[in-house]
């Protein structure tokens, strides 16, 4: 316990830095993934060929172990933040893409017809009707992606990107159980915390479904 105290005394800045770095990598990766996957998902609903290719391609990537994707980026891109973000973005795209496609596909035709018939222009229909109604399913995809990314970001430490995995790696290297526990618990708290927050946001935004 005192060793832990010592660690904190000298390394508390690193600790905080690692938490922030972890969240940073996760956030950037999910943001990139959203920028790629959401338009692609919407495009898939309008073009059958795009849909088929996307689903096959990204479906395949989901099955490959995330570590493999992470490490295979190294010979191509090098070590550090960049390959970590690239690999995590690739990881985050499939759930967002698949959910976005599904979300826009299952929009009830009658509601869109009513909106068009009322004289909404395509932009109004898209932003006022389609997007809010597609949101729950898209968000679930984003939520899944965030949980996976936060989890896999622990591995980013292996390729030199920092993050909470760093603490665990140090613990493994120095055979220090206290560090292992510190790292393990912090990551667990961050994961569960993020999951809980996302759940709250989701419940707020879909109140109308549960009236």
């Amino acid at each position: 316990m005192t060793r832990l105290g010592e660690y904190f005394a000298t390394h508390w800045m690193d600790y905080i830095w690692n938490i922030l770095r972890h969240l940073e990598i996760s956030a950037i990766s999910v943001a990139f993934a959203m920028i790629i996957a959401i338009p692609l998902g919407i495009l898939s609903t309008r073009c059958h060929i795009v849909e088929k290719i996307s689903v096959k391609f990204w479906g395949m990537l989901r099955i490959i172990p995330s570590v493999a994707i992470l490490i295979v980026c190294i010979p191509i891109i090098g070590t550090g933040i960049v390959p970590a973000v690239v690999a995590l973005t690739i990881l985050a795209i499939p759930p967002i893409l698949i959910n976005t496609t599904q979300a826009f596909k299952q929009l009830p035709e009658s509601i869109v017809e009513a909106a068009v018939g009322m004289g909404m222009n395509p932009r109004e229909v898209f932003f006022q009707i389609k997007v809010p109604l597609a949101f729950p399913i898209v968000f679930t995809g984003i939520r899944t992606a965030i949980v996976e990314v936060v989890a896999s970001a622990t591995l980013a430490a292996y390729i030199g990107a920092g993050g909470l995995g760093e603490i665990i790696l140090t613990g493994l290297g120095l055979m220090r159980n206290d560090l292992l526990w510190l790292g393990g618990i912090t990551v667990a708290v961050v994961s569960l915390g993020t999951g809980y927050l996302l759940n709250c946001i989701y419940k707020q935004a879909t109140k109308y479904q549960r009236v």
Binding site: P108, S110, Q209
Partner: protein, 257 residues
């Protein structure tokens, strides 16, 4: 009497169909009429009203709305001036009743007080107390209540003409009867032009100041309910009347328009 809608030799074809959806249709609808369009599936009745708000475009011929060719009006502007009610209702589930009704007024940039007033008076018109209903969501309403909202949503921006495509088709018999009575009341009070599509002859006779009977894209007969019952124009119309159960107590007749 002013003409609200006029069809001049309109033809509409859908790719792959054996016959024309609308075959040289000529029609004049007067202002203030409640025209019911009656026919079986595929007769062209839904296509006809969808040509009025340009959801479909005519292949030949012209359609005039209060004297203006609708081809000269931008479709979106056109639709904002027309009330459109469909069978599946199509209320926006993620918006409150208030927001649903206020949709077109907001697009037309009415000011807030005017919208408030309009929503309140519309809800009162259909006996749904505003304070109770304006903040509810469609999911909380019954089918009959939802379609009432669908109706007043279409009336919200005070359009000159209302298009209704089998609006009560998905409602149970008891509620349907109530809704029909409400529609009659609304029509009498608002004096707007209504075009109402149905496959139910009883409904057509009960609601229409004029009835249009269609089959295979062609007009079979156009007249008041009374005229149609007493003087069917051809064998088709005759069989339609005899097959349906037309209760002559519920036939709209000779209402001063």
């Amino acid at each position: 009497m002013a003409i609200a809608v006029e069809f001049q030799d309109v033809v509409k074809r859908f790719p792959g169909a054996g016959y024309n959806a609308l075959d040289h249709v000529n029609l004049k609808i007067e202002e203030g009429e409640l025209l019911t369009i009656l026919g079986t599936s595929g007769c062209g009745k839904t296509t006809l009203i969808k040509l009025i708000n340009r959801i479909h475009e005519a292949d030949e011929g012209n359609i005039y709305l209060s004297g203006t060719n609708i081809k000269d009006i931008e479709p979106i502007t056109l639709r904002r001036g027309i009330g459109y009610v469909i069978q599946q209702i199509g209320l926006f589930p993620h918006m409150t009743i208030y927001d649903n009704i206020a949709t077109v007024p907001r697009i037309l940039k009415w000011d807030k007080d005017k919208i408030n007033q309009r929503v309140t008076e519309l809800l009162e018109m259909v006996n749904l107390p505003p304070e109770e209903f304006k903040d509810r969501y469609p999911g909380q309403l019954s089918g009959g209540q939802q379609q009432r909202i669908g109706l007043i949503r279409a009336l919200a921006a005070n359009p000159k003409i209302m298009l209704l495509d089998e609006p009560f088709g998905a409602i149970d018999a008891i509620n349907r009867s109530n809704l029909q009575d409400e529609l009659l009341k609304i029509h009498r009070q608002s004096r707007k032009t209504f075009v109402f599509v149905t496959h139910d002859i009883t409904e057509a006779m009960k609601l229409g100041t004029k009835v249009l009977i269609m089959d295979q894209g062609k007009i079979q007969q156009y007249g008041t309910p009374g005229e149609i019952i007493e003087k069917p124009a051809n064998a088709f119309v005759e069989s339609l009347i005899s097959s349906g159960h037309v209760d002559t107590n519920y036939v709209r007749n000779g209402e001063g328009i």
